[in-house]
Symmetry: C2
Subunit: 261 residues, 2 copies
């Protein structure tokens, strides 16, 4: 009931104190280290309130206090690696991703959907030359990357619409598809040919190709993606050789999930 205009997303089903703590952490993650006063100002909270949140979060390891203020703690790294390693797809896909990266000499990504975002769970690079837009842990919109489109293409129209309602269709570059109908047409093409392409949509000068990893019922659990500079990964190479290699790896991973889990 602060100065907030009624339309709050905060129904009775949320814990507001937790949301406030989370907001402090998000601010620090996005803006780097900050002092108590700065945080209080930016989050529109009283200093005393922020003070108690900081104490609580520091005690738990979510924060550390350093010379230049509070910063997010390495506890996130501990939890994050644990989350990565224990993801249902990780063990099955990692060796196949490694092998593919070795063979094609480009970066190969393992991507999963979570909370309506594409999450880059793992990467192996054949050669460490190309500096990519993403990094392990990166969360981006599904519609803006080939890895995300490969996943969306295996969902029902209702499921896709639910995600789009939740996260929107922001433009990452001028090439990003921001229209729903155009996106659904693209997803149709993707589903038909079995792989998704990404031609300088989100990353200038970078191309990519992705195929979904699916459960036995067809629902997508993630995707694998080969990405690199456009001059090396030109469209004909993607469509001919790389698509076959990726579809082969997809099959290996799906078999591995089925019989080794």
């Amino acid at each position: 009931m602060d100065g907030r205009t009624g339309r709050g997303n905060d129904g009775p089903n949320y814990v507001e104190a937790t949301q406030k703590s989370i907001g402090v952490l998000r601010f620090l993650k996005e803006n780097g280290p900050a002092t108590l006063s700065k945080i209080a100002e930016e989050t529109d909270s009283a200093k005393s309130t922020v003070y108690r949140h900081l104490r609580t979060l520091e005690d738990a390891g979510y924060l550390v206090e350093t010379d230049d203020g509070y910063r997010i703690g390495q506890l996130y790294l501990d939890y994050g690696i644990e989350a990565q390693r224990s993801h249902p797809l990780y063990d099955a896909a990692k060796p196949k991703v490694d092998a593919l990266a070795e063979k094609v000499g480009e970066k190969v990504w393992l991507v999963v959907e979570e909370n309506g975002y594409a999450v880059y769970l793992y990467m192996q690079s054949g050669e460490e030359l190309y500096r990519s837009f993403t990094r392990v842990g990166y969360r981006g919109h599904l519609h803006a990357f080939s890895a995300g489109k490969a996943i969306l293409a295996q969902l029902s129209k209702n499921e896709v619409n639910a995600i789009l309602d939740r996260r929107g269709l922001p433009a990452y570059t001028e090439e990003t598809i921001t229209d729903r109908d155009a996106l659904f047409a693209e997803l149709d093409r993707t589903r038909q040919r079995g792989y998704a392409l990404h031609l300088e949509e989100a990353v200038d000068g970078g191309n990519a190709i992705s195929v979904p990893i699916q459960r036995e019922d067809g629902s997508p659990i993630g995707s694998i993606c080969v990405a690199g500079p456009a001059h090396r990964l030109n469209e004909s190479y993607l469509r001919s050789e790389l698509s076959d290699l990726l579809l082969g790896t997809k099959n290996e991973i799906e078999l591995s999930m089925r019989y080794e889990a």
Copy 2:
């Protein structure tokens, strides 16, 4: 009513709702996926209470709901990689750690102190054969690892005691030093010779050597550590060749921090 009878101001300056959320997350991290009922039981909370926390945490990306219950979300990976990369020591130390790993053909670790724990911030391996006890993100007690002892040896006795009071001296193996006086004697030796040794204390069959990374005032900001199987990293090799290599790398990192930051 009187109003002020029970107002205990001795109550800690913490946000209890946040602590409850954090407790749920810790339970899931340590025990793997769990259902609402299971979490409520294990954390001694009402189902309705846990329900609201789960909703809040899922909305923020800290959790996801899957077939086998709630699990911690990949948002931790996003924050964790960000925390790793933005650590003051990371940029300066990473290239030197990589170079050292290449040269000696063993795993080289970058370790920092945080919240009274040793945190394994980064690792590079010359050859991927030896399966180590730790992993990136791992948090362990400072007294139980050579990397931690290298850090402790550069702190004042008061600072060390404060950490020991906070985290205790649990035994990781039978060789772990669990007595304060014995630890201080070991830290004296470590400080004198400039490096810390770890001879099968915490990891059976595994040896390690560590040197601190220090600020200009001498205070430790972290340490670097070479670890591997005892038969390859025998004591004389550690003390002669490896110690010199590590001390050289230490100097490079400290210079890099000083003049490139």
